[in-house]
């Protein structure tokens, strides 16, 4: 059951809290670690904790964490046997996974073929739809022309979303309320997608108002076994990025849960998935759910699934990449877990990023509290990268215990002068709507300053 027979040394092609998380999993498995870092991250925790650390480039991610030749060269000079890509950066880059395969480097993730399919969102929608999973009504693949988009929107009814086929993180996504807006949106989304993702392909989806975001964590092995480890609700977002995540979702009864978990497994099977991954769904107020996309990586919010299942998902990723079988066919989550993301951003000013030095630091603890972070007192949050500074996770026997624990834990978070989202998350958790489980995408707006009208 132990993977060290196959991998003895793993290079982590990432930074921040996830690099630290992966280093910890490797250590517990007896695997030595190689960190890579940019010159802006010379004093970063991941570079310090790894057994070996190699500087791969200047601060700009395109010249360091995204630079494939430098990462492969680092793996070669450090004698790493496999690469863990974490999330973001190159984690869903099928070409990178393919190059690793050609260089005889193990890849802690799915096959390049599965990544290529899940990365082409239009093709993935089609494949998962053919497998009998409901997908959001929309175009069958990318739209070829504005006329085609208009005709389709006519049939579906407005509003519609225009999305980049190779997009993510809210980039290349446009909402169109009518025909005039759609004509404009298609061109804009194509330009944005071409600039951000190097591919102008866009597709259309019916916009589902008030939909909740529910995702299913799956694990697959190379024998074709795929299991679901429960769902996560991630409806509370800022700028299309998640802020508060919880499991189980208060929106699902047993029957609906069973259905959506089965759909998640079907989606993974349609993609040929052999690692830890996530099928994302929208749950409409009507109770109907729709597949939207598949994330072929470990996710930021994998922690809450770990808290209720007791399964170390990063360890499982490494084991599965080494070709080991899952070894279990069913997992029954227990209790409730919620995660709040601490971004170094100012919620009072439209989530303006607040990089800088963390001269003072206090992080919470106590029963049921887990903190995943790369912060230490005196560390620098560089302006070049994502502003995620820490994740505070609370586990409870039920949802209310988890809420209370998390809200109190967040009150303790202190990052010196660095503005952050801890206070905002605590206020949302204590609010009546959240406690009732009455969660919708607009819930966060109640806690933000109103846009200035003057």
């Amino acid at each position: 059951m132990r993977a060290e027979a196959v991998f003895r040394r793993i290079l982590i092609a990432n930074r921040g809290e996830i690099a630290v998380r992966i280093i910890r999993a490797c250590r517990q498995m007896g695997i030595t670690t190689v960190a890579v870092y940019s010159t802006a991250d010379r004093d970063s925790l991941h570079a310090h904790l790894a057994d070996e650390a190699i500087c791969i480039g200047p601060p700009e991610a395109s010249e360091s964490y995204l630079k494939i030749p430098s990462i492969i060269a680092a793996a070669e000079v450090a004698n790493a046997q496999a690469i863990h890509p974490g999330y973001g950066f190159l984690s869903e880059n099928a070409r990178f996974a393919m190059i690793c395969r050609e260089c005889k480097l193990g890849w802690i993730g799915p096959t390049p073929e599965a990544m290529a399919l899940s990365g082409d969102k239009a093709a993935c929608r089609a494949a998962v739809g053919r497998a009998g999973v409901p997908v959001v009504p929309g175009s069958d693949g990318v739209v070829q022309s504005v006329e085609e988009a208009v005709a389709l929107a006519e049939r579906m009814g407005y509003p519609v979303l225009v999305k980049a086929a190779f997009g993510g993180g809210g980039k290349g996504m446009r909402l169109a309320l009518n025909e005039a807006a759609l004509k404009h949106a298609v061109g804009m989304a194509q330009n944005e997608a071409a600039a951000a993702f190097g591919n102008a392909g866009v597709y259309l989806e019916k916009f589902i108002d008030g939909a909740r975001h529910i995702e299913v964590q799956v694990l697959g092995d190379t024998t074709g076994r795929i299991i679901a480890l429960g769902e996560r609700e991630c409806t509370i977002q800022r700028r299309h990025q998640k802020l508060i995540e919880e499991t189980p979702s208060p929106a699902l009864g047993d029957t609906l849960r069973a259905k959506i978990l089965r759909a998640g497994v079907k989606a993974a099977r349609a993609i040929g998935y052999t690692s830890a991954g996530t099928a994302e769904f929208l749950l409409a107020p009507s109770g109907q759910f729709y597949f939207i996309e598949f994330n072929a990586r470990i996710q930021v919010e994998h922690t809450i699934t770990e808290e209720v299942t007791g399964i170390d998902l990063v360890r499982e990723q490494i084991r599965l990449a080494a070709g080991e079988p899952l070894g279990y066919s069913q997992v029954t989550p227990e209790g409730s877990a919620i995660q709040a993301r601490i971004y170094a951003e100012d919620p009072e000013h439209n989530f303006r990023p607040c990089p800088g030095r963390v001269d003072q630091l206090h992080l919470p603890g106590g029963p049921g509290i887990r903190v995943d972070t790369h912060l230490y007192a005196g560390c620098e949050i560089p302006r070049y990268y994502d502003s995620l500074a820490a994740k505070v996770i609370a586990r409870g026997r039920d949802r209310f215990e988890a809420i209370d624990r998390l809200a109190c834990a967040l009150d303790e978070v202190h990052l010196g002068e660095i503005h952050n989202t801890a206070g905002l998350c605590a206020r949302i958790l204590r609010g009546n709507r959240f406690r009732r489980g009455d969660i919708a995408p607009d819930l966060i707006d109640e806690y933000l300053p109103r846009p200035e009208s003057s």
Binding site: L49, A73, E76
Partner: protein, 163 residues
Amino acid sequence: MDFSELQELIRLFESTGLSEMEIEEGGRRIRLAKKTATEIIAGGTVMPLVPAALPAAGTPTGGSSGTGGGGLSGEGGLRLEEGLVTIDSPMVGTFYNAAGPGEPPFVQPGDTVEAGQVVCIVEAMKIMNEVTAKVPAIVEQVLVNNGDPVEYGQPLFAVRPLA
């Protein structure tokens, strides 16, 4: 243990892949240690800002130590004479001082180089990347050995700019 035995021991140690060896005999202890290539690479990563409470790099898994210190890439370890500057590696990879095995080195200490002249190759992913001098200079010192792994920004040559 006499001197010849010690010599024999060092020869033996050098011919093996061992990076460390310790022998205790009659109350005397002899410890031999080599810096591995990986330790040299990691030399630049000692982080003074990290609180002492954090585990020291490398110790818990007992693998190659990340605290090699004094490695070639440790800027802290490199004391430049006044008037000298370094030519740094533009990427992580393997350093080659010549165009191929058996070829003469691109430059040697004492050589004068022109701006734009190739001084070495750093190989990454089987691609030979030529490193050039930015200004006319006299090569004072080659700071790494042929075939050494080097990281981004690691000083490769100490040179004295002309004019």
